[in-house]
Symmetry: C2
Subunit: 325 residues, 2 copies
């Protein structure tokens, strides 16, 4: 049965609304330009997956507190900051060769708006005032950035391995999801075993989430997203299916594939690579790992009694496997 | 007599070396690309004014502690992060219209390296573990960014006033100098009055420092810096001398000046504006304010007994007034 996001957030319906308002309030500023850009940021409306999971995690052991909302805002702010900084580059690329003064201004503003979001996240961390949280978050923020730079570095130097891939997606995706879930439960439970369990849930869910995202590059997303099915190896970011395939073929064939992919979005080349990845079990391998991490995410909730929040967290894992965008 | 930076840092000669080593160590990473860029950042070698003042502030009440060095690294890291992010834009501009893929990569890397530095600063903050420091620094980091965005916003919307100018330079320059000096003394003194005095010193010195920098746009720097004397109104950032002049002339003349300046680095136009700013007392006004803030910076050290560190902090104020780059 197809799981809908609306069903999943039913146990935190009111809490999620409260969060949305606090998030919007938090981003307000006395500077006109900041408010202008923030309206745009709010209007873009991401899925807000991280605060959803954080609120559900908190509900496993009680009712959300002011600290829960603060933590939810923090985690979404940090995530948005990384997205805004990613945009700086993407914009520059789509305008390749023809940047206007306007687009330069926008770059400067994007960089600063990302920094503004980081500093708002920092202020919220300090307000939360819990040393364990601060340690967790400062390390997470370090991992987010290091993971991104590591990915660029490996793409350039052509040194991606399965081990490096998993460390990288842990850093750039799973670490913040783990920290978010952990922060959620920390606001309603003082048991360290609870914190660890949610850290594990977030970590495993996060890895599964990124694996699913990376599979889209090979299997496409549903038409509604507007992205054609096919191989989209952005900036030569080599992900698990291809890493697996490379381990199954000899050096000469590896070189042939890399040459083919370096030619950009050539349909025939893409089809050839896709067939090879399928034939050598690259897709199956990635799907198997996706299932493993999903199972582990669900297992890490074992210690909690049944509740609608627990049910939703379990279903979220299935939702990720099913999702088509 | 001309004051040299070497004389000023004599009381913290050994401490400054220790700081330099810790700073370089702190920036190391297991990611190759990060180390590569960091070597470049370290090689660029700024004046390191902020850690110098912080170390001198600490020495007012005792010997530097491991926390003093951590704070010095933190403040320089935060400052470097803002410089790296500023570079993202400056690079884009000097290459106006002709960005290579290379320069795009560098943009992406610059943004992420700035974020990396921010996250290193955050980790150091958390290690310092003092709630007052965390609060101070999170607010400072917010002010740094808000100040930058406010400046862009006002340049665009043409709404700069003397009051707004002073708030802006307080945010973008003085706040971090104030926080740095305050952090320094907090590592060797537990007296709140000491903290406040150093906050005042850093604030007043910071304003004076920015006023001096802004005066260079009208009076030029020494030949060795390679910047020609003349008006350089970067991105229409209107600073105090011109703000004062605008308050002395009528609307029609204001419009004429704005038109002249919008024509870029036209020599004749620049000369005309410079003459007008001189004639209407814009330069004298800015120099007078520079002297006022300098005097206040020195006064805020009154409560401390004479020492070589106090002497240096006092001389630093004079050094700023004298400096030609």
């Amino acid at each position: 049965m197809k799981i809908s996001l609306n069903d999943l957030i039913r146990p935190i319906h009111a809490e999620f609304n409260t969060f949305q308002h606090e998030f919007e309030d938090m981003l307000k500023s006395h500077v006109f330009l900041i408010n202008q850009v923030m309206k745009y940021v709010v209007a873009q409306k991401g899925k807000k997956l991280r605060p959803m999971l954080l609120l559900l995690a908190a509900k496993l052991r009680g009712e959300c507190t002011p600290d829960t909302y603060r933590a939810a805002c923090l985690v979404e702010t940090l995530h948005t900051a990384t997205l805004v900084h990613d945009d700086v580059v993407d914009e520059a690329e789509t305008r390749r060769g023809l940047p206007s003064i306007n687009s330069i201004w926008r770059n400067k503003v994007s960089v600063l708006i990302g920094d503004y979001l980081f500093s708002k996240a920092l202020i919220n961390m300090v307000h939360l005032g819990k040393p364990q949280l601060l340690k967790l978050l400062s390390e997470t923020s370090d991992r987010l950035v290091t993971g991104e730079i590591d990915q660029i570095d490996r793409a350039r130097s052509d040194t991606m391995t399965e081990e490096a891939y998993f460390r990288m997606i842990d850093d750039k995706t799973a670490s913040l999801l783990a920290a978010g879930c952990q922060m959620g439960i920390m606001t309603t439970s003082s048991e360290e075993a609870d914190w660890q369990a949610l850290g594990q849930y977030g970590h495993n869910f996060g890895i599964a989430f990124q694996l699913k995202d990376d599979l889209f590059d090979f299997e496409g997303r549903e038409a509604s997203v507007g992205k054609p099915i096919g191989l989209d190896l952005k900036h030569n970011m080599v992900t698990l299916p291809l890493i697996h395939t490379f381990s199954k073929i000899d050096l000469r064939e590896q070189k042939r594939i890399k040459r083919a992919l370096s030619k950009g979005k050539d349909k025939a080349n893409q089809k050839m690579v896709l067939e090879l990845v399928k034939r050598t079990g690259g897709l199956d391998h990635a799907k198997q790992r996706l299932q493993e991490f999903s199972d582990r995410a669900i297992q890490s909730l074992d210690r909690f009694p049944d509740s609608s929040a627990k049910h939703s967290l379990t279903q979220f894992v299935e939702f990720n496997i099913q999702r088509e965008k």
